[in-house]
């Protein structure tokens, strides 16, 4: 029987998605993207009004009007896209995964429009990755109270499409074996202590990555008295991956970006 199953896989082309395609992709995540050239004051006001979180908001500085988009708070509900008249579109690429909390926040002058792009050139990516991680990074996933949507996407990282192991990145069973804690969910009051203990059990040097709108800042649960807040309310966080849930491609990009920014300059 085992050989029957093995035989089925012969001749089947590999499903592995090349890293060039994964890196920076956010297709299917429902994260919005602003087309500043189409932005008007009217549209900006409308999208800020429909946003159920405070991910989209307007700020006026003197006679300038800025539209701020905080990807860390966005739950991908798509309402801004529905009323954005083409000025807000579903983002197929997102460069901020794995960045600092500030890097998740973008801002546009509603009247003139400016967009921040920080794309790396794809050809270099594969070579660089091996040099950053030295072919070995051990991740311990830690659920601090998530809805399990983020877990479902993290589990997908081990499937034959994403196969994180190809970069030498492994999920390990104990924090004692880990270099990185990948933390999902808002930290609930019931989990806060276990989260701290898990962090303490992880040897130095260690990295903490907050995953999802909930991990970035508590998400839709931020207001609940049963929740302490985002991951940064109990642990020092090195990188953030937005989304609700982030797609596997966003997770891969985010983990690699944290490595790029922080290996060699590991702190603590």
């Amino acid at each position: 029987m085992i050989s029957d199953i093995a035989r089925r896989s012969f001749g089947v082309p590999s499903r592995l998605i090349p890293v060039e395609e994964l890196s920076g992709s956010s297709a299917g995540s429902r994260m919005p993207e602003i087309r500043p050239e189409r932005l008007t004051v009217e549209i900006a006001e409308r999208v800020a009004a429909v946003c159920p979180t405070t991910a989209l908001k307007l700020e006026s500085h003197g006679d300038r009007l800025n539209l701020m988009l905080d990807y860390g708070e966005c739950i991908g509900c798509g309402r801004c896209i529905a009323v954005g008249e083409g000025a807000v579109m579903a983002a197929n690429r997102l460069q901020c995964c794995g960045g600092s909390r500030e890097q998740l926040i973008c801002s546009w002058d509603v009247r003139t429009g400016t967009e921040q792009v920080r794309a790396g050139s794809p050809e270099r990516i594969r070579a660089e990755i091996f040099s950053w991680v030295g072919r070995a990074l051990n991740i311990r996933q830690l659920d601090s109270g998530s809805c399990n949507g983020c877990e479902a996407e993290i589990v997908a990282l081990t499937n034959p499409y994403y196969d994180l192991e190809r970069f030498g990145i492994h999920f390990v069973a104990s924090p004692k074996h880990a270099d990185m804690l990948l933390v999902t969910g808002p930290v609930t009051r019931n989990m806060a202590e276990a989260v701290k203990k898990t962090y303490e059990a992880t040897p130095h040097p260690k990295l903490v990555v907050a995953v999802g709108a909930c991990g970035c800042g508590g998400g839709i649960f931020a207001a609940s008295p049963e929740v302490v807040g985002g991951v940064s309310s109990v642990l020092p966080v090195d990188g953030y991956i937005p989304g609700c849930p982030p797609t596997p491609a966003m997770l891969v990009s985010g983990i690699l970006e944290v490595m790029r920014r922080l290996t060699g300059t590991r702190r603590r």
Binding site: M1, I5, R30, C147, N148, I154, C214, I220, P245
Partner: protein, 483 residues
């Protein structure tokens, strides 16, 4: 709405020792102008769902002795609403793990004849030892604590301590505008987010008497069945993985990913978040998208059928699956277990058949049922259901009704209502009370809340090394239970 019978008469009614006793679906509380109300929802044979509501005056007779499924519901009621029950075996808090953890007021008195708040039952005797596991587990899974008392390899007793992911979700609904609260419903249990969204929408539609167009029902049915299909496929793979058979596990993960990608092409989202809205859905599939999905589901089902047959015919898999983690029909009935776990223990119940909703009335549905109640039975139920879901999706795609998918609906006004759907893990119920378009109370009875109580009974007597397998065969959601 308030029944013409007293609580004690009601309790006599659903004594599980009677044949044909009504099934306890849910039991929850609600506060209004300093009054507390208790709501019992029962599933009466040949009648259907019935709700009984009572004003709480003094001490309430406990339902736990006649229907053990009420145990956790009553503990929650005592903890959150301070309702006192007579004759409950142990009204310990579920959500607060230790007495000193909270500054919010404690319920009047925390009582149990055997245990104090935060304690575990100690099994005594020569050679008995305790194995604590969790809340942080070894895999990519949710947190919960298991306290095993073992003798040698055999588990004598398992005590659960869950609610680590308790996020006060039901309270978060309160005060929000009815359609603004959808993202909260979608985040009760993220892997079954579409079932939650639909149950929430259906409850709202009941409250406001909203009519749902046929095309919307068709899109919803496809979403619900896709969710069931990939959940069962990946659960089956995980079961194989838990017995060290990683080839089918990898295949199942691949099939699930194929389906998620097909679903992205169809609906624009992987998990169908932000698709359901009260009275409609947010996208209208094109004919080519319909064809593409039909092909993808057909391929996935064909692959899975071969794979599942091969895996289940493998002697070493049979060896591990058979007779492991038996949930007896008696325990399943006592705890009013739902979903695949119930159907593996001889309880042939499925909301889609027993209380048809949406587009399900239009289709012939085969509901599998096995008697053994072991891991193998739960695995077989999943395989059969995955195949029947795939068939249903393909049939629905072939007969896609025309019309609109999102008619305008008005949701001002007040009222209450509930709705249930068959989520991948079983019956999922939302009960809503709306005041002037805002949610005044939302109660979520997830299938996991119901089934977790029965798990320790399936584990006792097995070797501790089989626990991950048995637990996986139930595949309960922690977040869905803890809310």
């Amino acid at each position: 709405m308030t029944a013409g019978i007293t609580t004690s008469e009601l309790l006599r009614l659903f004594d599980t020792s009677l044949t044909d006793a009504p099934r306890l679906v849910s039991l929850f509380g609600r506060k209004q102008d300093d009054h507390k109300y208790l709501h019992y929802i029962l599933d009466l044979p040949d009648v259907g769902y019935r709700e009984f509501a009572y004003l709480v005056e003094g001490v309430v007779p406990s339902a736990t002795r006649v229907s053990p499924a009420a145990a956790w519901h009553e503990r929650e009621l005592h903890e959150e609403f301070g309702v006192e029950f007579t004759d409950h075996p142990g009204l310990l808090p579920l959500r607060r793990h230790s007495p000193e953890r909270r500054e919010t007021p404690q319920p009047n008195e925390v009582r149990s004849p055997r245990l104090r708040h935060g304690e575990f039952l100690q099994v005594q005797g020569t050679g008995v030892c305790e194995v604590p596991v969790g809340p942080v587990h070894a895999g990519i899974i949710e947190p919960g604590h298991f306290r095993f008392s073992v003798i040698g390899d055999s588990v004598l007793h398992l005590q659960l301590r869950l609610f680590y992911t308790h996020k006060g979700t039901e309270k978060l609904f309160e005060g929000s505008l009815a359609n603004e609260a959808l993202p909260i419903a979608e985040s009760v249990s993220g892997d079954n987010c579409f079932a939650h969204a639909i149950a929430y929408c259906m409850a709202l539609e009941k409250v406001f008497g909203v009519h749902v167009p046929q095309r919307t029902d068709a899109v919803r049915l496809i979403g619900l069945e896709l969710e069931r299909l990939w959940s069962h496929v990946v659960d089956f793979g995980a079961l194989c993985g838990d017995v060290g058979f990683s080839v089918p596990a990898a295949y199942c993960a691949r099939i699930k990913e194929d389906l998620l990608q097909a679903s992205t092409r169809f609906s624009g989202t992987r998990y169908w978040r932000a698709i359901a809205v009260p009275g409609g859905v947010t996208f209208d599939p094109t004919p080519s998208a319909v064809q593409d999905l039909s092909r993808a589901v057909g391929d996935a089902a064909a692959d899975f059928a071969v794979l599942a047959r091969m895996a289940l015919e493998t002697p070493s898999v049979q060896d591990r699956f058979e007779t492991a983690g038996i949930l007896s029909p008696k325990v399943a009935k006592d705890f009013a277990v739902v979903g695949p776990a119930a159907r593996a223990s001889g309880i042939k119940k499925d909301v889609r058949i027993d209380h048809p909703y949406g587009g399900y009335g239009n289709f012939q549905l085969d509901v599998p049922c096995y008697e053994c109640g072991d891991v193998m039975a739960r695995a077989r139920v999943r395989v059969d259901e995955a195949m029947s879901s795939a068939r249903l999706i393909v049939e629905q795609l072939a007969s896609f009704p025309a019309g609109e998918v999102r008619p305008p609906v008005s949701m001002s006004g007040s009222g209450e209502g509930f709705a249930a759907v068959e989520a991948p893990r079983g019956e999922l119920l939302y009960w809503l009370k709306v005041n002037e378009g805002r949610i005044a109370r939302c109660h979520v009875r997830s299938p996991s809340f119901q089934n977790w109580q029965a798990l320790p009974f399936a584990v006792a007597g097995n070797i501790i090394a089989d626990f991950p397998l048995i637990n996986k065969s139930f595949n309960l959601s922690y977040s869905g239970c803890d809310r």
